[in-house]
């Protein structure tokens, strides 16, 4: 019971803090003091108090975009196990639901962008779906590989692995899956080198340009939902990178949170030491993720 409460508190409260950690790491690399760790929460609180501007050319789809993305990431977040703690909602085949929740969120985000009729947002929507075309199968194949390894078809079983833990004989496919998931995290959460979350240059944006017309509370919801997506995908990555359980609940929770912090720091370091790819090169990078998880799967079925 306590574990379930902790789960939901973490799911709701921790994601914006992860963005705060990423930004703090980037600041340190740039020689700046940087914003407070809680800055993303403060931004969301500020946005919640603001007014809302809704263009008269838009329809209900414009409002549905942020609402659906928040709802879907919350559902996705409640389906995955956190560290050794199983999800209370798991069922056979929930992995398919999980993958399509992201698809549904994307459908509504891009529809809301197209709903504004702006050339920028159409451009962003086109980029988003083009790149998703490569990240979705990469994520699917990674989950499929893990499903094959664990012999299970529900997320709890897939991510927690076989009873005795993954055997060292499967190290090669696991490394490939970790690489693929790492790239998926960077791409899906619009981080450098795929997208630049800090830029103000609308012509170069992928994700941010789709939400240019959302303001106030709606934009707060988008920011929050984006951070939860980062949290959920990082959780999946942690199952591959850090599949450990001490048996003590308190220590396990600490390990889990430390893992999330480590992923945030890692993303911050990557963002600090490299530039973005040219837009034309992004598909190559994403194809790399697809090849990694595809090869991992091939290694297992041979």
């Amino acid at each position: 019971m306590i574990d379930t409460i902790v789960r939901f508190l973490l799911l709701l409260a921790f994601p914006p803090i992860m963005l705060g950690i990423v930004n703090r790491v980037k600041s340190v690399f740039a020689g700046r003091k940087g914003p407070p760790i809680l800055q993303t929460w403060r931004d969301i609180a500020k946005l919640a108090r603001k007014g809302l501007v809704v263009s008269s050319t838009t329809t209900w789809v414009f409002l549905a975009g942020p609402a659906v993305s928040l709802a879907t990431v919350l559902i996705a977040g409640s389906l995955v196990p956190y560290g050794p703690f199983r999800s209370p909602f798991g069922f056979t085949g929930d992995v398919i639901l999980f993958a399509y929740l992201f698809g549904l969120a994307r459908f509504f985000t891009t529809s809301a962008a197209l709903d504004t009729g702006s050339a920028f947002e159409g451009m962003g929507a086109s980029r988003e779906v083009t790149f998703a075309f490569l990240t979705e199968p990469a994520l699917f194949l990674a989950l499929l590989t893990l499903a094959r390894l664990s012999g299970s078809l529900d997320l709890n079983g897939i991510l927690l692995g076989p009873a005795g833990g993954f055997s060292s004989a499967t190290a090669a496919p696991l490394v490939l899956v970790a690489l693929a998931l790492g790239i998926v995290v960077l791409a899906e959460c619009s981080r450098i080198p795929v997208d630049d979350p800090n830029t103000h240059l609308e012509l170069t944006m992928i994700h941010e340009v789709m939400v240019l017309d959302h303001s106030g509370p709606l934009f707060g919801v988008i920011t929050w939902a984006a951070s939860i997506k980062f949290f959920v995908l990082s959780t999946i990555l942690l199952h591959v990178l850090l599949p450990m359980s001490s048996g003590n609940a308190a220590i396990d929770w600490l390990i889990f949170v430390a893992g999330l912090v480590a992923v945030s720091v890692g993303v911050g370091v990557i963002e600090s030491i490299m530039a973005r790819f040219r837009m034309r090169r992004v598909p190559w990078f994403l194809t790399g993720a697809l090849l990694c998880s595809g090869s991992a799967f091939v290694l297992l079925v041979r």
């Binding site: 740039a30 020689g31 086109s126 012509l203 600090s272 973005r276 040219r278 034309r280």
Partner: protein, 508 residues
């Protein structure tokens, strides 16, 4: 070799001559002479009109043959129209549109006859026959369009997401690829040339200092030289040296800022943040000289307002050494980062031929391998005795424009260090006296963006009848539009930063 046809009078920068001594041609003759000069390798430095009370307009053309260090000028009187040579000589197209807009003359045969700044003419005539009762709005009008099922148009600006000046950019795209970019400016027009007419007065220098706020020293140098030439004033070597140090400090600050901004646009944070700070260090060195970070109030016609004492000299040398090592670290970091280089190389490529055709100046021209630098080709002041090697690179892409800036950083630092360690003696100068009447003078300065050209023409009383300012941005904006052809639209901000042109310098 670039040579000027005989129709042009040979002139020298910073040397006033009676205006009536300029050869007088008719419109066709001037066009033919300019066409011939450009074919022979010369380029347009300035080309403008002076409306006369009798309804005629006097066109004045200043051309430069850089390889022979030659400057030439000629004029023509025209009535309602003048022939355009832009179809054969694209570098003149913006000048011709400017003349048409300011003087209300039709530019006959102009391939893309549009306003430049969307203002009414000075004469009451209108080259486009627009209704005088309706307002003229910048950026409103026809744009070049590519038709087709899969072609789409993206319009950016005039309000931008960043805190920058306003300008309107119209892209014709096929997916991510840009077929064509058209740039419409004019939002920043303040009426600089109109306000300078009848001067110089106490406001004039303030206006000059803010033609382009980041090029205060560059424009003020050209202005002071013009006044000194017209008043026949002599400057001491000490004055020239202090001016050159200020000009190079301005270059250092802006080049550092540009390199940081280029890194920032690729998402490479460390160089971006460091350069932002180091740019401030260079600006603060200008403040040591003048008490103002942009050098406002330092240059005055006749001399400079502040001397460099021993304390300032030591302070500057100390700060210069620190900033040099900081900027080297920050830029080396970027050069050694393969992900940044992958973005810079082969992006926004311009060939040397295109640069010549469009008449580009400054680092943008030098990045295509064109050795075009006023400090070398038409030196004035201390640059006649202390040369700075011209920094060129040949790939013509964003990397080349960044690298030229980087090379110039090192050379400017060395130049300042040499000048500071051997400051010549001499006075700081005295205010200039009255200006010669009915005279004409051209002055050139190599600002950090490129060639700055000022042309002053005085009336019978020695007041400015016409004061023509050409900011390097006026030459270079078409270069940016050309560089975008066939590029990805997402690379536009990076290309734009690599040119970093001035909106207000163009709009005046």
């Amino acid at each position: 070799m670039s040579s000027l046809p005989g129709a042009f009078a040979r002139i020298k920068a910073e040397k006033a001559l009676p205006f009536d001594e300029l050869p007088l041609l008719d419109g066709e003759g001037l066009a033919a002479a300019m066409r011939e000069a450009i074919r022979e390798g010369s380029r347009v430095v300035s080309y403008f009109g002076i409306p006369r009370p009798d309804g005629l307009t006097e066109l004045v053309s200043v051309m430069a043959g850089d390889t022979t260090n030659a400057l030439g000028a000629a004029r023509a009187r025209v009535k309602d129209a003048f022939p355009s040579i832009a179809r054969d000589c694209p570098e003149t197209q913006l000048f011709e549109r400017e003349i048409a807009e300011q003087c209300g003359l039709a530019s006959e045969g102009h391939p893309w006859f549009k306003p430049v700044r969307y203002r009414r003419s000075w004469t009451g005539r209108d080259a486009w026959g627009r209704d005088p009762s309706l307002p003229i709005l910048p950026g409103v009008g026809d744009f070049y369009r590519v038709e087709g099922e899969e072609v789409h148009e993206v319009a950016v600006g005039p309000v931008h997401a960043g805190i920058i000046e306003p300008g309107h950019f119209r892209f014709q795209c096929h997916g991510e690829e840009v077929f064509h970019l058209e740039i419409a400016l004019g939002y920043q027009h303040r009426g600089v040339e109109e306000a300078l007419r009848g001067g110089p007065d106490s406001r004039t220098i303030r206006i000059i200092e803010t033609i382009a706020g980041d090029t205060t020293i560059g424009h003020t140098s050209a202005y002071c030289q013009a006044l000194e030439a017209l008043a026949g004033a002599k400057r001491s070597p000490r004055t020239d040296t202090i001016r050159a140090i200020a000009l190079e400090l301005e270059r250092l600050a802006n080049h550092t800022g540009d390199l940081g901004a280029i890194a920032g646009d690729t998402g490479y944070l460390p160089t971006s943040s460091f350069c932002g700070r180091i740019r401030g260090d260079f600006l603060n060195m200008t403040a040591v000289l003048a008490g103002n970070r942009f050098g406002r109030g330092l240059l005055r016609p006749g001399g400079v307002a502040f001397d460099i004492g021993d304390a300032e000299r030591d302070e500057l040398l100390k700060r210069l050494a620190a900033a040099e090592s900081d900027v080297t670290n920050a830029i080396e970091l970027m050069w050694n980062s393969s992900s940044v280089m992958a973005r810079l190389e082969d992006t926004g490529r311009l060939s040397k031929d295109e640069a010549i055709e469009l008449g580009l100046v400054g680092p943008a021209a030098r990045a295509t391998g064109l050795a075009r630098d006023v400090r070398h080709d038409h030196p004035s002041g201390i640059y006649r005795f202390a040369q700075i090697p011209v920094a060129t690179f040949d790939s013509g892409d964003v990397y080349a424009r960044a690298n030229v800036r980087w090379l110039e950083l090192g050379r400017s630092i060395a130049f300042i260090r040499d000048r500071l360690s051997a400051l010549p003696a001499g006075s700081l100068g005295a205010p200039t006296g009255p200006l010669a009447p009915r005279s004409f003078v051209v002055t050139l300065a190599e600002g950090w963006r490129g060639e700055i050209c000022h042309v002053a023409i005085t009336d019978e009383k020695g007041d400015f009848e016409r004061y023509k300012v050409v900011d390097p941005s006026f030459h270079n904006w078409p270069g940016l539009a050309r560089a975008l052809r066939g590029q990805e639209i997402s690379d536009f901000p990076l290309c734009n930063k690599s040119f970093n042109l001035s909106y207000c310098g163009h709009d005046l």
